[in-house]
C-alpha cells in the first residue's frame, strides 16, 4: 500500500517530484493495517465507494491520533465528505477497512458510530427546521424522565449552558426555522461538541459563519484537543487549517495523495497537492471602476433587519459588503433582488428609477444573485446540472417555448469547464454533486443570465482554492467588461483582495466605508463590531 | 295544527331509484300542501351514517321515520332505538332482517325480483345456454336477495350454466368494462346476461353493442326500470322490471300517518281504495308487498310518460 499515489491530472513530471510516497511522510505509515498503538484513535485504509457506478472515492485513507486536529484536504469532489460519511456509517463503503480504537468496525448506521464515540458535523446542514434549537441538539439522546418522557426543561437548560460555555448567542427555545444559516451552523457545531465524543468529524464547519464565530470555534477545538479528543477538520480556508490543525491528509480525485505534519509543509505546496498543479499567488487586482454609475440604492430598510441603506455602484466596480454574522447583509441583498419584501427604499439603474418587486423584475433589469443558502434558495436539487444552469435564462435557450437542447448542452458544458464543475454528466441531479461543485452550479446559473449587476452572497462558500481563483478571475473579468459586482463575504482576505471598495454593515446599518490602503483587517473588524 | 314531521332515511341520493323514491315522496299531496313536513336524509350508502341519522332524528323528536336501509342486519338496531323513543317507524323498499320492529313496511320482494329477472332471461334463452351475472355491491340486501332469487330459479333450469359471476357495484361503467372483458374471454359463448340492477344490465348492453353483436341475440335483463332501461326495452334491446317508487314512497307516508290517526284516508294511487292494485286494509296490516311491474312494449310508453313527471 506504499505505492506512490497516482498523480491525477496536471503535468506528470512536475506532479511526481511534488508527490512523496506517504510512507516517507507520515512516520506511523509502516504500521498501517497492523495492530495500532493506543493513541491511534482511527485508521482507515483503501476505502472505496461508487454511486450508481460512478466512483466517488477510490482509495481513502486516514490515521487519526488522540488529541490531534487532523486536516483532511482536497479539491471539490475529491471524496472528503463521502469518506467521512463512510466513517460515520452514513454511507456503506464498497471496500476497505475502518479501525476504531484498534477494533475493525463496519457501521451500518450512525447510531453505531455515535455509540463508539464518533460525532460529525455534516457539510450539508440538515436541521429539523420545525423543532426547537434545544430539541435539535439533543435529538436521539433526549434527557429522560421516568424512562419514557423527554425532559424539555433540562434540554433547554443544558442547551443554554452549552451556548454560554461556547460563547454562542442563540436562544435555545426558538425553532431552527427562525435562524439564519449562520446560526444553524453554530447549532450544528454545538450539537456535535456536546456529544463529548472521542472522535469529532467537522466537514467545513465554518463555511457559513464569520471570522468572529470561527475564532470561538477554534477556542473550543483547542480545549477539546487538550481533553485528548481527535478531530478531523475539513475546510477550504487554508488560513484556518494552518492556524488550527497539526497534521494533514490530502485526497485528490478520490485518491489518497499524501499525509504528514503541517509543520513540514508550506501553504504553496499544500495547495499544489490539493489542486494537482502549481498555483501562483493571485496578483492584487487594480480597480477597473469607470466611475459612471451603474446602480444606486437609497434608503433601503426592512424593519428589524436593516435600516436606511444607501450605496452607489459604478460600472466596472466590485463593491464589498463586510459585516459580522447577522449584520443584515443577506437580508439587504435579498430585498434588493426582490426576493424578500422591503419597507422602504428606491433603486435607479443607469440613471433611470426602477421598481423591483420580484426576482423576475430584478433579472429583467440585469441583476442576478448568488444566494447565501444554495440548498434553500439556490438550487433545484432534484433537477439535473444542466437544468439548473439554464433555469434562469431559459428564454435565451428557447424558440416558441421549445427548449433548444443542443444549445443548452453546449453552453452547460462550457460552464462545467469554466468553473471546473466535477460531475460524471451534465444530466446527473445536482444533489449528487459535492458541496463545492453545487456552489459552482449556482455561479454558472447567474452567469447564464448575462447580468450587468451580480450580487454574490458568500460566493466562494465551500469551494476549493483552485476554483476560488477561477471565481475571482471571473469576477474581475466580469467587472472589467463594464459590469458591476456586489460582493458579500465574511472572509476578510477574500474581500480585501477582490473589492475595490468595502462597505461595512453593523447591526443592519452601514457603519462606514473603506478603500485602498485604509482597507485593512483591523479597520474592518473595528468598524464591524 | 302544526305539520306532522316525518324523516325519511334513504340509502343514497346518488342512485336513481332513491331519487325517484324521494321525488315521489315529495309529490305526496299532504307534503305538497304543507300538512306534512318531510325531511329526506341521505344515508350515503353507509350503514353507520344511517344509524347516526336515526340518532339525530330521535333527538329531533320526529313524529315518524321512514327507513330505506342500506344493510339488512345493521338496520335493526336504529329502528329499535327509534321504537324505544316512541317514534313510528315505517319500512320501505329494502328490508331489515327483523321486520317485526316496524310499525308497518311496504316493499317489493327482491327475492321475487331476482326470480323474475332470471326467468325472463332463461326463458328467452330457451332454457339452455350460458349466462353471466353482474352483481350489485356485495352484502347489500338488494344484492343478497336478488342473487338468492336468481339461484333458486337456476335450480329449475338445469341446462343453464353460469359462466361468470362478479360484482359491478351497481355501476354502469364497471359493468361495461367487465362485460367487454367477458366477451373477449368467452367469445361467442355468452347467451344471456343478468344484471342485478338496470345500471349493470345497461353497461353490459353497451359492451355487447361495442363488440358489434346484436343485442337481440343475447337477452339482457335488469331490475328497477330506470329511464335508460325503459328506453332500451322500447328499442327491444333488454328486459326490465319496474319497481314502483311512487307506491313505496307515498304508501309509506300513508302508513306513517295512519299510525297517528286511524281514520286517516290514504292518498297513494297504488291503494285499491284509490283504484290501485294494493289492498289498503284500513292501514291495519303490517306488511304490504308492492307488485313488480314487468316492462313490456305495451306499457313502456306510458311508463316513459309517467317518468317525465316524476
Amino acid at each position: 500500500m506504499a505505492e506512490p499515489a497516482s498523480p491525477g491530472e496536471g503535468k506528470p513530471e512536475q506532479a511526481h517530484h511534488v508527490l512523496v510516497p506517504p510512507a516517507s511522510v507520515s512516520p506511523s505509515a509502516p504500521e498501517q493495517g497492523a495492530v495500532a498503538d493506543t493513541d491511534l484513535l482511527l485508521a482507515a485504509t483503501s476505502i472505496s465507494k461508487a454511486f450508481a457506478g460512478v466512483p466517488a472515492l477510490v482509495d481513502g485513507r486516514i490515521r487519526l491520533k488522540r488529541g490531534s486536529v487532523h486536516a483532511l484536504c482536497g479539491g471539490n469532489g475529491a471524496g472528503k465528505s463521502t469518506f467521512l460519511n463512510i466513517l460515520m456509517g452514513l454511507h456503506r463503503a464498497d471496500a476497505g477497512t475502518v479501525m476504531v480504537k484498534g477494533r475493525v468496525v463496519h457501521y451500518a448506521s450512525a447510531a453505531e458510530a455515535l455509540a463508539d464515540g464518533i460525532a460529525i458535523i455534516t457539510q450539508e446542514l440538515s436541521p429539523v427546521l420545525d423543532m426547537t434549537v434545544a430539541e435539535n441538539i439533543y435529538l436521539g439522546r433526549e434527557p429522560r424522565r421516568l424512562g419514557w418522557f423527554a425532559d424539555k426543561a433540562k434540554m433547554e437548560a443544558d442547551a443554554a449552558a452549552l451556548f454560554a460555555r461556547l460563547g454562542f448567542d442563540i436562544d435555545a427555545r426558538v425553532t431552527m426555522r427562525s435562524l439564519s444559516v449562520a446560526k444553524i451552523q453554530l447549532v450544528e457545531i454545538a450539537k456535535a461538541i456536546s456529544r463529548e465524543s472521542d472522535i469529532l468529524i467537522m466537514d467545513e464547519p465554518t463555511s457559513a459563519i464569520g471570522e468572529k464565530e470561527a475564532a470561538t470555534l477554534f477556542q473550543a477545538i483547542r480545549s477539546l484537543q487538550d481533553q485528548g479528543v481527535g478531530i478531523i477538520y475539513v475546510s477550504h480556508r487554508l488560513t484556518d487549517i494552518f492556524s488550527i490543525a497539526d497534521s494533514y491528509t490530502v485526497f485528490r480525485d478520490g485518491r489518497f495523495i499524501e499525509a504528514g505534519d503541517l509543520a513540514d509543509i508550506d501553504r504553496q505546496r499544500l495547495i499544489s497537492l490539493i489542486v494537482g498543479r502549481d498555483l501562483r499567488d493571485q496578483e492584487a487586482r487594480d480597480s477597473t471602476s469607470t466611475g459612471e454609475p451603474m446602480i444606486s440604492v437609497s434608503g433601503f430598510a426592512r424593519h428589524g433587519q436593516f435600516e436606511d441603506i444607501s450605496l452607489d455602484l459604478a460600472k466596472g466596480e466590485i463593491l464589498g459588503l463586510y459585516g459580522l454574522m447577522g449584520a443584515g447583509r443577506s437580508e439587504f441583498a435579498n430585498a434588493l433582488y426582490g426576493n424578500a419584501p422591503k419597507d422602504a427604499g428606491t433603486v435607479t439603474i443607469e440613471g433611470r428609477p426602477v421598481e423591483i418587486r420580484s426576482p423576475s423584475d430584478a433579472l429583467s433589469n440585469g441583476i442576478a444573485i448568488v444566494t447565501e443558502d444554495r440548498k434553500e434558495t439556490g438550487l433545484v436539487l432534484t433537477s439535473s446540472v444542466s437544468e439548473n444552469v439554464v433555469l434562469a435564462a431559459l428564454d435565451q435557450f428557447s424558440r416558441l417555448g421549445l427548449v433548444d437542447g443542443k444549445k443548452v448542452a453546449s453552453n452547460v458544458d462550457g460552464q462545467i469547464a469554466r468553473f471546473r464543475i466535477r460531475t460524471a454528466s451534465r444530466d446527473l441531479p445536482v444533489q449528487s454533486l459535492s458541496g463545492g461543485n453545487q456552489q459552482k452550479v449556482v455561479l454558472a446559473r447567474c452567469v447564464e443570465t448575462e447580468p450587468k449587476i451580480l450580487i454574490c452572497d458568500e460566493p466562494t462558500r465551500g469551494i476549493d482554492e483552485g476554483a476560488k481563483r477561477e471565481v475571482y478571475a471571473f469576477l474581475s473579468a466580469f467587472a472589467a467588461a463594464g459590469n458591476s459586482v456586489l460582493m458579500i463575504s465574511s472572509e476578510i482576505p477574500e474581500i480585501l483582495a477582490n473589492a475595490d471598495r468595502i462597505l461595512v454593515f453593523r447591526r443592519g446599518r452601514i457603519a462606514g466605508e473603506l478603500k485602498g490602503a485604509a482597507a485593512t483587517q483591523e479597520a474592518l473588524v473595528h468598524l464591524a463590531s | 295544527a302544526d305539520p306532522v314531521r316525518i324523516a325519511a332515511v334513504v340509502q343514497s341520493l346518488d342512485t336513481e331509484f332513491n331519487v325517484l323514491w324521494a321525488n315521489a315522496a315529495n309529490e305526496h299531496p299532504l307534503v305538497k300542501d304543507g300538512s306534512v313536513k318531510l325531511t329526506v336524509l341521505d344515508g350515503r350508502m353507509d350503514a353507520l351514517t344511517q344509524s347516526n341519522q336515526f340518532d339525530t332524528a330521535i333527538s329531533e323528536k320526529y313524529d315518524a321515520i321512514i327507513f330505506v336501509p342500506v344493510d339488512i342486519d345493521a338496520g335493526n338496531d336504529p329502528v329499535q332505538r327509534a321504537k324505544d323513543a316512541g317514534i313510528t317507524v315505517i319500512g320501505s323498499n329494502t328490508l331489515i332482517s327483523n321486520t317485526d320492529l316496524y310499525n308497518a313496511y311496504i316493499a317489493s320482494n327482491d327475492v321475487e325480483a331476482g326470480k323474475m329477472l332470471a326467468k325472463s332471461v332463461f326463458d328467452k334463452m330457451g332454457g339452455k345456454g350460458n349466462v353471466v351475472i353482474g352483481e350489485g355491491m356485495i352484502g347489500q340486501s338488494a344484492q343478497v336477495q336478488r342473487l338468492q332469487g336468481i339461484e333458486e330459479t337456476l335450480k329449475d333450469y338445469p341446462d343453464i350454466k353460469v359462466l361468470e359471476q362478479k360484482t359491478a357495484n351497481w355501476s354502469r361503467a364497471e359493468a361495461l368494462s367487465l362485460m367487454e372483458n367477458w366477451l373477449t374471454a368467452h367469445a361467442g359463448e355468452i347467451n344471456g346476461v343478468i344484471g342485478e340492477n338496470d345500471e349493470i344490465a345497461i353497461g353490459a348492453l353497451e359492451a355487447i353493442k361495442a363488440h358489434g353483436l346484436d343485442p337481440k341475440t343475447i337477452p339482457v335483463a335488469g331490475v328497477d326500470g330506470v329511464t335508460d332501461a325503459l328506453l332500451a326495452v322500447k328499442r327491444g334491446e333488454m328486459m326490465s322490471t319496474l319497481q314502483d317508487a311512487d307506491a313505496q314512497a307515498q304508501g309509506a307516508i300513508d302508513l306513517a300517518l295512519v299510525a297517528k290517526q286511524p281514520d286517516y284516508k290514504p292518498q297513494a294511487k297504488v291503494w285499491d281504495v284509490n283504484g290501485g292494485k294494493l289492498a289498503w286494509e284500513g292501514g291495519k296490516s303490517q306488511h304490504y308487498s308492492v307488485p313488480w311491474i314487468p316492462v313490456t312494449l305495451d306499457n313502456v310508453d306510458g311508463l316513459l310518460e309517467m317518468r317525465k313527471t316524476q
Partner: protein
C-alpha cells in the same frame, strides 16, 4: 436614534408576528368556534346535551382513525388502507362474538386490535424496510384487505352479535357513550405520547428531516414502522366500535373512511410533508367535519346542498386558518 428606529420597527414587526402566531396556533380553533356559534343559532337543539353526545359519538370513530393518521402523516407518510382494515377487523371480531359469554368484549378487542396491528405491521415493513412509497403500499392494502374481508365473510353481514359486545358501541358509562370514552382515552394517550415522550420527539424528527434523524442515531425505520403499526391497531379499535354500533359486522363498512381521517388531520393543519402538527388540531379537524354533517342534517338541508356547503365550509375553515400566509 438608531435604537429608536429599531425598537419601533421591532414593535411593528412583533405585533404582526404575534397575530401571525395567534392565527397559526389558534386559527382553526377560531374557525371551529365560528362554525359552532353559527350552528347553535341556526338550530335550537344543536346545543342540547343529547345532540352533543350524538356528535361526539359520531365523531369518535373518525376521530380514532384520525389520531392514528396523525402519527403516520407526522412521519411524512399516509395510510389509505384503514377503511378496508377497519372492515376486516370488524368481521373478524364479529365472527368471534356471535356466542354469548361475558368475555366477548375482551375477545373482540384483542382480535380486532391484533388483526389491525398485523396489517399495520405489513404496511410498515414494506414502507420502512423495503422503502416502497406509502401511497402505493397502502393503496394495495386497501384492495387486499377489502378482498380478504369479503372472502372471510362471504360478502354477507355477520348478524346476532352478543349484547356484551354491542355494549362497546351502544353502552353508556355515567351517561357518556362508551365509544366517546374510548376515543377520549386514545386521544389523551396520543397527546401525551406526542407531546411529552421521547418517542413523540422521534416521530416529529423523522417526519421533519429523516436525514438528520438518522445522523442523530434515531432508529428511523423502526419509528416509521411503529407509526403504521399503531395506525393499524387503532383501525382495529375503530372497526370494533363500528361493528358494535351497527350491531352486525358489515363487509362493506368503512368505504372511503381514509379520506375523512386524512381530512381531519389536514384540516387541523398537520402538513402532509410531515414534521409539523398535533393531535389537538386533528381533534378540532374531526369535530369540524362531524359538526358540519350533524348540523346540516339537523337543519334538514337537502343532501345535494349539504355536499356543496360541506365542501365550502372545509375550504373556508382552512382558509381562515391559513390567512396568515396571504402575503407572498
Amino acid at each position: 436614534m438608531s435604537t429608536e428606529l429599531t425598537t419601533t420597527a421591532g414593535a411593528a414587526g412583533a405585533r404582526s408576528q404575534a397575530i401571525g402566531r395567534f392565527l397559526s396556533r389558534y386559527g382553526i380553533l377560531l374557525s371551529f368556534l365560528i362554525l359552532f356559534v353559527i350552528l347553535s343559532f341556526a338550530h335550537p337543539n344543536f346545543l342540547s346535551t343529547a345532540n352533543l353526545m350524538n356528535v361526539l359519538r359520531q365523531v369518535s370513530i373518525n376521530g380514532i382513525l384520525a389520531i392514528g393518521m396523525t402519527f403516520v402523516i407526522l412521519t411524512g407518510g399516509i395510510d389509505l388502507s384503514i377503511g378496508s382494515v377497519l372492515a376486516l377487523t370488524g368481521v373478524v371480531a364479529g365472527s368471534l362474538v356471535t356466542g354469548g359469554d361475558p368475555y366477548n368484549p375482551a375477545i373482540a378487542f384483542f382480535a380486532a386490535v391484533g388483526v389491525g396491528a398485523l396489517f399495520g405491521a405489513v404496511n410498515g415493513t414494506l414502507i420502512a424496510r423495503f422503502s416502497v412509497p406509502a401511497f402505493v403500499v397502502t393503496l394495495g392494502m386497501l384492495s387486499m384487505a377489502r378482498g380478504a374481508t369479503l372472502l372471510y365473510s362471504n360478502g354477507r353481514p355477520i348478524p346476532n352479535l352478543s349484547p356484551e359486545f354491542r355494549w362497546l358501541g351502544q353502552g353508556f358509562i355515567a351517561g357518556i357513550p362508551v365509544p366517546v370514552i374510548i376515543f377520549a382515552i386514545v386521544f389523551i394517550a396520543a397527546w401525551i405520547t406526542l407531546r411529552y415522550t421521547v418517542y413523540g420527539r422521534w416521530i416529529y424528527a423523522v417526519g421533519g428531516n429523516v436525514k438528520s434523524a438518522k445522523t442523530s442515531g434515531i432508529p428511523t425505520r423502526t419509528v416509521i414502522f411503529s407509526a403504521y403499526l399503531l395506525m393499524g391497531a387503532l383501525a382495529g379499535l375503530a372497526g370494533m366500535i363500528l361493528t358494535a354500533r351497527t350491531t352486525s359486522a358489515l363487509p362493506q363498512a368503512g368505504l372511503g373512511y381514509e379520506l375523512d381521517a386524512i381530512a381531519a388531520v389536514v384540516i387541523g393543519g398537520t402538513s402532509l410533508t410531515g414534521g409539523v402538527g398535533s393531535v389537538v388540531y386533528t381533534l378540532i379537524g374531526a369535530l369540524i367535519i362531524g359538526v358540519i354533517s350533524n348540523g346540516l342534517d339537523l337543519m334538514g338541508v337537502s343532501s345535494y346542498y349539504q355536499q356543496i356547503i360541506k365542501g365550502a365550509i372545509i375550504v373556508v375553515a382552512v382558509l381562515i386558518d391559513r390567512s396568515r400566509n396571504l402575503n407572498p
